[in-house]
């Protein structure tokens, strides 16, 4: 399998893990390990970023995983930028999962504020991975301002509904020049495999693993699903070809002339 490359950095795993909703830091650490992930995202609002002894932060081995702070909870570009800068000042990490979600119920991302924040943060030398709705135009605009990826949602976060935005995701993947990480709504390993078969470069999973009865087992299941989906994609999915290959050619007569 090819490696995933984000902002020039190579990763063996194409599964990113979120850290919310776990019953304990021990269960979270175990799930992270079993998932084979190399990128772990942490909500800045949940941790004491300046404190190395913070329960959640100390459960994530920074020598093995890229810690990807996220701005979950920010309602505007200003809030997200403020939080991002504080986090970078405290940790030296300049990677950022940008989340601007003004609606507290479905936590859907605000396209206007996300684009605004992304542009400012990229100019300020952040490696920005923005969480977005599956909007192909927005994805291109973000790419234009220099984000390292785009992270479109499969369905509302925490909903476990799978690829409800399929048609738009296909366009985003087709048009993207940066890695496309499908984020949010992947409730089953088969959803993750589905996204990978479609050609997503990676997926991010949190709720489905964190709230499973055995998070570590579920993390393994997602790891295998992501690998299977990617392998199938790289091999080429003949059955999914969009090209017509008719068994009775309509233009055969031309050869007979």
């Amino acid at each position: 399998m090819d490696n995933l490359i984000i902002a020039g950095r190579e990763f063996n795993s194409r599964l990113l893990i979120g850290t919310g909703k776990f019953a304990s830091c021990e269960l979270m650490a175990e799930a992270i390990e079993k998932s084979g992930t190399e990128i772990v995202t942490v909500a800045l609002r949940r941790v004491d970023i300046e404190n190395e002894d913070d329960d959640m932060l100390s459960a994530i081995d920074r020598t093995k995983y890229l810690l990807l702070p996220n701005t979950s909870g920010a309602r505007s570009a200003d809030e997200a930028i403020r939080l991002a800068k504080l986090a970078r000042a405290a940790t030296g990490i300049n990677w950022l999962k940008l989340e601007v979600t003004p609606d507290p119920y479905y936590l859907l991302p605000d396209p206007v504020e996300t684009l605004k924040a992304a542009e400012i943060l990229v100019k300020d030398d952040f490696v920005v991975l923005p969480y977005i709705n599956a909007d192909p135009i927005l994805a291109k605009k973000l790419e234009d301002v220099g984000t390292a990826t785009v992270m479109p949602l499969a369905s509302p976060i925490g909903s476990n509904q799978g690829l409800k935005t399929r048609a738009s995701l296909e366009i985003i993947i087709e048009q993207a020049n940066v890695p496309v990480v499908v984020d949010a709504g992947l409730g089953l390993p088969s959803h993750a495999a589905d996204a990978m078969e479609m050609g997503a470069d990676a997926v991010l999973v949190n709720t489905a693993i964190a709230t499973a009865t055995e998070p570590a087992e579920m993390a393994t299941a997602f790891k295998l699903a992501v690998e299977a989906g990617r392998m199938a994609y790289e091999t080429g999915l003949s059955a999914m070809s969009k090209r017509a290959s008719a068994s009775s050619p309509l233009t055969g007569f031309l050869r007979e002339q």
Partner: protein, 387 residues
Amino acid sequence: MLDLNFKFNADIRTILAEKGLDGDGRRWHQRLENIHPGNVEMALSEPAGSYNFEKLLTLISPAAENYLEEMAQLAHQLTVQRFGRTIRLYAPLYLSNYCTNSCRYCGFNKENKFERTRLTIDQAVEEANIIASEGFRDILLVSSEDRQFVSVDYLIELVGKLRDKFASISIEIYQMSSAEYAELFEAGIEGVTLYQETYDREVYTYYHPSGPKSDFDNRLDTPDHISAAGMREVGLGVLLGLTDWRIETLALAEHAHYLIKRYWQSHVSFSFPRLRPAYEIEGSQFRHLLSDKNLVQMITALRLCFADAGLVLSTRERAELRDHLVKLGITKLSAGSKTNPGGYSGHSGAIEQFEIDDIRSPAHVAAMIKQQGFEPVWKDWDIAFIR
């Protein structure tokens, strides 16, 4: 200029009046009685989590009392999906028990003769330090109606001194104007809890005979002011025990639904304060106190109608019951609370607002949460969002 008011439907007063929910709710009594098991089964087979009036009416009916286990299972599942296996912890800090109101259920009633206490900023910070040392990063500043002393300026100064220690600061104090709430939000206060106490006008008038709080309509409009000021969290609740909990639950849900539609960026939470004995107040005087069974019914019914609402439980309830409720949809607990100003440092023997029941330490409550398979969350906010 285009009139933008067209986009809003009726205000909350009109909604409650039209539905007959600002009085004794008589028109719903027969409907509630008529709901049969088939209706409950139908309501439970709908996808859980979204609100409609008929569904809530069904789930709080006497017939639904026989479906509490199913309601509890669904509420648990939905809460774990939306909030994860986590419970947030917070502590209240009482600032003053001077009061200009005479609410009949409250120990701070101005008619009660006892020596009143107000914390200076330094005393409040000292109390807050104790709360912080117990692990809390989420604090609720509470005060009686003491506008002279616990003023907007006082709160702004205090918040300035608490910001380094607390990730989340919210208030539960007397009603304010939208402009005042906006000032407090700017200073770093992110949430306001304000119970309507009761949605029944007559009962409200009886229990609030004098003082600024005696104006029912103003009370009812205040969550609008809170949300319009940009506050992130708006806490709603009724004092359980003043009147029929079923009618109150319907009104409460209508209020929440209205706020969610109108102020889409504010997050609504519900509290479930059952009346407690207080200074010169016997618990037995409240005729409408609801049973544990009905409390569970109310909590789970609201969860099944509001998937993402915060559900808050205080130390008013006894330890054993709180342990069980952790798994039934509750998302936030207080612990180790003192309900009198100066209570944490123990310097003052001030009168408390009500007697708490669960007297376990915060560490003990956190251990209980872990034992239940949940993560106790001390911090789930960052004041950097606001300033």
